[in-house]
Structures are given as C-alpha cells and as structure tokens.
Symmetry: C2
C-alpha cells in the first residue's frame, strides 16, 4: 500500500486523495503540516529535499514528489490518463497550466486569506493575486465553451488537478459566478462516480 505525506487542507495534497478514492485504491496518509514546519525537518528533507508535500512513498521505499507527476503515475493505465499521445499531451498542457498560471495565484490568495493574520503585510499581494487568478479562470472558461473536461475530452487527472484549488477559490476572495462554464464544470466533477470531497 502506498503512503502519502500530505496536508489535508492543501489542494495539491487533496488531488491525490481525490484520485486514489475515485480509483478505490487503499493508501496510508501521514498528515504533515507544512504550515507548522513539518516539511522542513531533517527527517522530511531526507525524503524530499525540496521540502514540500505531497510526497508519494511506495512500499519498496521509492519516492515521488510534485502532485501532478504523482497523479500521472497513479493514473497510468486507467481512463483518468489518456493513452492517446495527443490527448495525453493536452492533459499535460492543462496540468502545467495549473501549476504555472493558476495555483500560484488561486492557491496563494486562499493561503493569504485563510492562514495569515488580518494585518499581515502579504495581504497587499491580494489585488494582483485576484487579477492573475481571474485570468486563469478566463482561460478555463474559454476552453469549457467547447469541451466538457480538461483531460483529453473526458474527466481525468487534469480535471482533478484544476478542481483542487478552483472548487475552494472563494476562500481566496474569488466570485466564481463570473465564470458560469467553470461553475458547471465543478458540478460535473462533483457528479463523477466515487467523487471524494476535500476533508479540510
């Protein structure tokens, strides 16, 4: 049984819970509070020198970091990761989009609003985070005007990756009613068989 080191409240970590629960695969979860320094200990850095969760550890001790790389590994051979090279490439496109153009704004706005005190200087970043996050939702809205999902036309790992922080974007101050296609897509993801909600 694989082990996940993760923080339940983290969207990046939730991605793995979401996929593994949907696949019905058992796993061990070791709660690792990165907001309290648990990823900067000597013990954890020996497992992942980049000091981040989630981290996958296989029974034989092999380790894999980066939420979206872990999603691809766990979904290999399932309908959640297309086998067709072009559809697989489109799926990866959206997963890289998520980590570069979406998460650094949508997830960080949530972090600033939910974890930092009201008078924290990083609250000054919020207007820019909201503007850049809105751009990411515009790009998703455009895609969803012609397709139902992000993983090569069907539900899969790119949807799980994008769902993670989109579904809780209101925590960071986003009003998702501005993006009706995105709102409909969130409902389609929640209606998937075996859908696993975030525990946080």
């Amino acid at each position: 049984m694989p082990t996940i080191y993760g923080l339940r409240a983290s969207g990046n970590c939730y991605k793995l819970q979401h996929l593994l629960d949907a696949l019905g695969r058992p796993y061990r979860w070791i709660e690792t509070d990165s907001t309290a320094g648990a990823t900067r200990t000597q013990e954890f850095l020996a497992l992942n020198p980049n000091g981040k969760v989630p981290l996958l550890v296989l029974e034989d001790g092999r380790r894999l970091a980066e939420s979206n790389a872990i999603l691809c590994y766990l979904a290999e051979g399932t309908p959640w990761l297309p086998s067709d090279p072009w559809e697989r490439a489109r799926t990866l496109q959206w997963m890289f989009f998520e980590q570069y153009s979406h998460e650094p704004y949508v997830a960080v706005a949530r972090f600033v609003c939910k974890w930092l005190p009201e008078d924290h200087p990083r609250r000054a970043e919020l207007p820019q985070l909201l503007e850049r996050g809105a751009r990411a939702f515009d790009v998703m809205e455009d895609h969803l005007s012609g397709e139902s999902f992000f993983s090569g036309g069907v539900f899969g790992v790119a949807d799980i990756a994008l769902f993670a922080y989109t579904h809780c974007a209101a925590d960071g101050g986003f009003d998702l009613s501005r993006w009706p296609n995105v709102t409909d897509w969130l409902a389609r993801v929640r209606a998937q068989p075996g859908f696993s909600p975030m525990h946080a």
Copy 2:
C-alpha cells in the same frame, strides 16, 4: 512540418529548439516577441488564449501550449522520454519542479536583470528571486550527487527543461560555481550529440 511560435531569447522557447534540433526534425519557427506584446494580439490569443509562447501548431492546425507538455509530446517514442512508468514519472517530477520551483525565480531574475531598466521598481524583487533560485539549485545539486541526469537516469526532456534557464542563470546574477554538480551536469548536456545552443 510543425510550427513553433516562440521567442529565441526565452528559455521556455529554447527548450523546443534544443529538442527538435537534437532529434534532427525539421520545423518552422515564427519569432513572436512576447516582450513587445506579440502574444497579446487578437490573432495570437485566438491560437493560445493563455497568451504565452512557446506554442506548437501541427500541420492540421491542432495546437499545444506549455513548453514542458510540448517537450513530452515531441519526445514520445524517443529515448528522450522514458517509456518505463516509474522513470517517466520521475522525469515529470523534475519538469513540474522546473516550472514551479525553478523557472519563477531563475528565469524571472534573468528577465529583471536583462530586460528591465536599471531603475525599475521590480529590481527590488531580486534578493528574494536569488534566494529562491539558490534553493532550486540546492535541490538539483543534491540529486546530481547520486545521478548523472534528470530524465530517469539518462539524458532527456527533464534535462532539456532544466538546462534552459540554468545554463544562462548568470544573466540573473547567480554564481553557478557554488553548485559544482550542476556545473558538471551543464557540461554533460552540452556534450550530448546534436546539442543545439541558445541563439539569444
């Protein structure tokens, strides 16, 4: 023959030149100056709603964005992308690391130093960019103490992705002599058959 919309001076675009030249595959390059607004025109946004280069356009008109997704697509079936699921996952891990923990600091420091005027307010970001970029090099240095490359033990797409902005990190003020394993790895990449240097 595929078409690449790209900016020669961009590391993200250089990745595709590097791979396609190494594979000996012909391609058409359309120079697209994102620093002069060429990715924000109506025409370009119709091709890539995220308004970024590089962009791959196939002969039949299909389009793919995100440099690392394009690398994976073009390298499918070649030794540059491992077919073994675990080695492929490790390769993807480093490509997501590059886009999340490396490029936003190493590439942005280069952009600030080379493209912005001496008195630009964004120069205030440099100390933090250099600190975070140094952390990324520390993680690479650690990996290279036990392995020669980043793409499942052999040279491949994750090396091409990480080489893009590491080899020109001095442009952003990094002194790579602090990381001797990284320096040696850069030399190994340059010694690969068909190595294609950045034109910028």
